[in-house]
């Protein structure tokens, strides 16, 4: 995030003298993020006390997060490999962002809604969705490959920030039905510049909808660094302008991500409305396989972030806490390998696609025009097969 050192010299120092805590200023201060990003773990995984009172998640949950992160990263690597083999049309990796991918999801119940972007393949499989179904979109077989309603997981969203409003709407809808489920919208740092993010935050606040906006601030929108994206002191300072409670978190500290996510979920369930979380993280790979990250960032920057690896940090912490040992770690890695191997194998089989499916689900019932077009394609296909 950027700090703004050369602000104007309009009267400000004196302004503070006038401050006697108006109701607005009080309300604002309850919404603003803590001075520094929340973290429980330092870069080596040692426990630190910078959590501003957020409760540490139970160790079982942390252990589960570790497992999911290891499996998730292995899945992600497998996807990159599949892309190189031409098995996926495109793949946006989340390598390095596993604390958010997993921490976001593990804080949810099955009846909560989730709104992933193109980058959230790991979050989706973490939710339990079949990896092959998850990859339908990126393989190019269809758009969304899983049952979005059953999983309460919207299709991976490409038009940036648009999904954040859907999250506000579904969160309000569920609340109106008397449910205490929440809706989690993933969004990137760059996408916070879109007008839709603004409208989503505002609608969520006005309707006190239990929506959580989890900004994975990985410092770049494709090639554009954050300081060309915003001059905000930090993205979490955007919440106060809507009356949305906001927090910054070390996005490579899985304990911190989970802790704040759990608080945000609780905040929503309790009827207090939306919550904005800015998580500082980094994508170790390029934007997608089609991108060349060397064009816009230094290798040294990537190296810096390698030393903040979320999996290593959580692993170290769990070991220190006695919740992980070599045997268990090996077990988890074996699970990850098996997961990847199964995926590899299943992705080798090209599914048989029916071109006539193109006309399905445009409407519940095809219009006469669509039926005619379908018939035309059917005739062409028949002619080809002769």
């Amino acid at each position: 995030m950027t700090t703004t050192s050369t602000r104007g010299k309009t009267p400000r120092a004196t302004a503070k003298a006038t401050r006697t805590s108006s109701p607005e200023a009080k309300a604002a201060s309850a919404l603003l993020p803590a001075e520094r990003p929340i973290r429980f773990l330092d870069e080596h995984g040692a426990r630190v006390d910078e959590h501003s009172g957020y409760a540490e998640p139970p160790v079982e949950l942390l252990a589960e997060a570790y497992r999911k992160m290891v499996v998730g990263r292995r899945f992600d690597q497998q996807c990159t490999a599949l892309t190189k083999q031409g098995r996926l049309a495109v793949y946006p990796s989340s390598h390095g962002q596993e604390a958010c991918q997993v921490g976001g999801v593990l804080a949810l119940r099955a009846d909560d809604w989730m709104f992933p972007t193109y980058r959230e393949s790991v979050a989706i499989t973490t939710r339990g969705v079949d990896p092959v179904e998850t990859l339908t979109l990126l393989r190019g077989d269809w758009h969304c490959g899983y049952d979005a309603a059953a999983w309460r997981t919207a299709p991976q969203c490409t038009p940036l920030a648009t999904q954040t409003i859907h999250a506000a709407g579904v969160a309000y809808g569920e609340k109106r039905k008397g449910n205490d489920s929440v809706a989690l919208a993933f969004i990137g740092d760059g996408a916070t510049s879109e007008g839709d993010f603004h409208e989503a935050m505002n609608f969520a606040a006005v309707f006190r909808a239990p929506a959580i906006f989890l900004v994975q601030n990985n410092g770049y929108a494709i090639s554009v660094p954050l300081d060309k994206q915003t001059q905000a002191p930090a993205l979490a300072y955007k919440g106060v302008g809507y009356g949305v409670r906001s927090e910054r978190v070390d996005g490579n500290d899985p304990v911190a991500v989970l802790a704040v996510m759990l608080a945000a979920v609780e905040h929503g369930r309790a009827g207090h409305g939306p919550f904005l979380i800015e998580a500082h993280t980094y994508r170790m790979d390029a934007h997608t396989n089609a991108d060349d990250a060397t064009r816009y960032r230094e290798p040294s920057e990537v190296d810096d972030w390698r030393s903040k690896d979320p999996i290593a940090r959580l692993g170290a912490y769990l070991r220190a806490a006695g919740a992980l040992d070599d045997a268990r770690d090996a077990e988890i890695k074996a699970e990850a390998e098996a997961y990847a191997a199964s995926l590899r194998e299943r992705m080798n089989a090209d599914p048989v696609l029916n071109p006539l499916d193109l006309f399905e689900h445009v409407y519940a019932t095809p219009t006469p025009q669509l039926a005619a077009q379908r018939a035309q394609l059917a005739a062409e296909l028949e002619a080809e097969n002769q």
Partner: protein, 332 residues
């Protein structure tokens, strides 16, 4: 009973709110105020703020919120206050509303109605009178409906709300205060069925929404000129009723398309293209179009020059090669 189109729409909303708990009405000023055209008058009072409510002033937000509520099982009926103020919602409409069923193979459907007071003829200043139907009609996944009669306004809106798919419901502003002898509830033909509003034998005027009354007036005036003019009202632009149109044109052998929207690449182009594709050998003359000019919507004092009127329709009918003189290149 004499009923206005505004009343018919209000009643349709009421009846839908009554019949189906999942229906919610929202948008800018639709609550306390009852809408700037008073179409939602009394709904909040009678059904409560939960069923009909004001939103923040943000059309993309309204649209996206409707998508979310539909995902939660509601049937949102949103009002976008004027045609041009729907534009901020285009990304949500084009990239999500129109596509979500298809993208999710039917797992998620969006039974949303997008009500848009549209088109001109009311002396509105700029940005208040756009004819925006082509943008919607060209977008697969949307249904596009525009009533020309009071009974249709009621019946088509009820059908739109019951439809499992997103419907853009375009309300011709200038017809809000038009009256018909109708008692509600009224039941007219379903989506995808055009109506012959007036029978004739010489030429078919093909039209929809705000232009239907113009076509009817022209047909009436044409009697004096000795032409027997048939008027077809599409009612729903998508789905499109080729059968009724074809039957009329095959009978009359001539066709003029009348739309208020700018002609270039508009819905009228589709109508003309379809007619000649399907009825070529029945046509004694090219299908001509009477449309708004290809200009930004004019200021109030000049709009009548822009809007297709009876004279322009009659002039165009007169150009339908009644003497079978081939057209020169000077045409349109």
């Amino acid at each position: 009973m004499s009923t206005t189109m505004a009343q018919a729409i209000n009643t349709a909303l009421r009846d839908a709110l009554k019949d189906d708990d999942r229906v919610v009405v929202f948008g800018e000023d639709v609550g306390t105020l009852g809408g700037v055209f008073r179409i939602t008058d009394g709904l909040t009072r009678d059904f409560g703020e939960d069923r009909c409510f004001d939103t923040p002033l943000a059309e993309s937000g309204i649209m996206g919120f409707a998508i979310g509520m539909a995902m939660a099982g509601f049937r949102p009926v949103v009002e976008l206050q004027f045609d041009a103020f729907a534009y901020p919602a285009f990304e949500q409409i084009l990239s999500h509303v129109a596509k979500l069923r298809n993208r999710t193979r039917g797992a998620l459907s969006l039974p949303i109605v997008i009500r848009v007071p549209f088109a001109g003829g009311i002396g509105g200043v700029e940005h208040h009178c756009d004819s925006s139907e082509a943008y919607y009609a060209h977008t697969p996944g949307l249904k596009v409906v525009t009533p020309a009669t009071v009974a249709d306004a009621y019946s088509l809106l009820r059908e739109a709300i019951n439809d499992p798919d997103p419907v853009v419901f375009l309300e011709p502003k200038k017809l809000y205060w038009s009256k018909d002898e109708v008692s509600l509830p009224a039941q007219t033909a379903p989506f995808g069925k055009a109506e012959v509003r007036r029978e004739g034998t010489d030429v078919t005027l093909l039209s929809y929404g705000p232009s239907v009354p113009v076509a009817l007036a022209a047909a009436e005036a044409a009697v004096e000129d000795g032409w027997s003019v048939e008027v077809v009202d599409l009612r729903t632009i998508n789905p499109y009723d080729d059968a009724t149109v074809d039957a009329s044109v095959r009978k009359t052998g001539r066709c003029v398309v009348v739309t208020e929207a700018s002609g270039f690449a508009g819905v009228g182009a589709e109508m003309a293209a379809r007619v000649q594709e399907r009825c070529f050998h029945s046509l004694a003359a090219p299908v001509l179009r009477v449309a708004g000019y290809d200009i930004p919507y004019p200021p109030p004092k000049l709009e009548h020059h822009h809007l297709p009127g009876v004279d322009r329709v009659l002039d165009t009918i007169a150009r339908l090669q009644w003497d079978d003189v081939p057209m020169g290149s000077g045409a349109s």
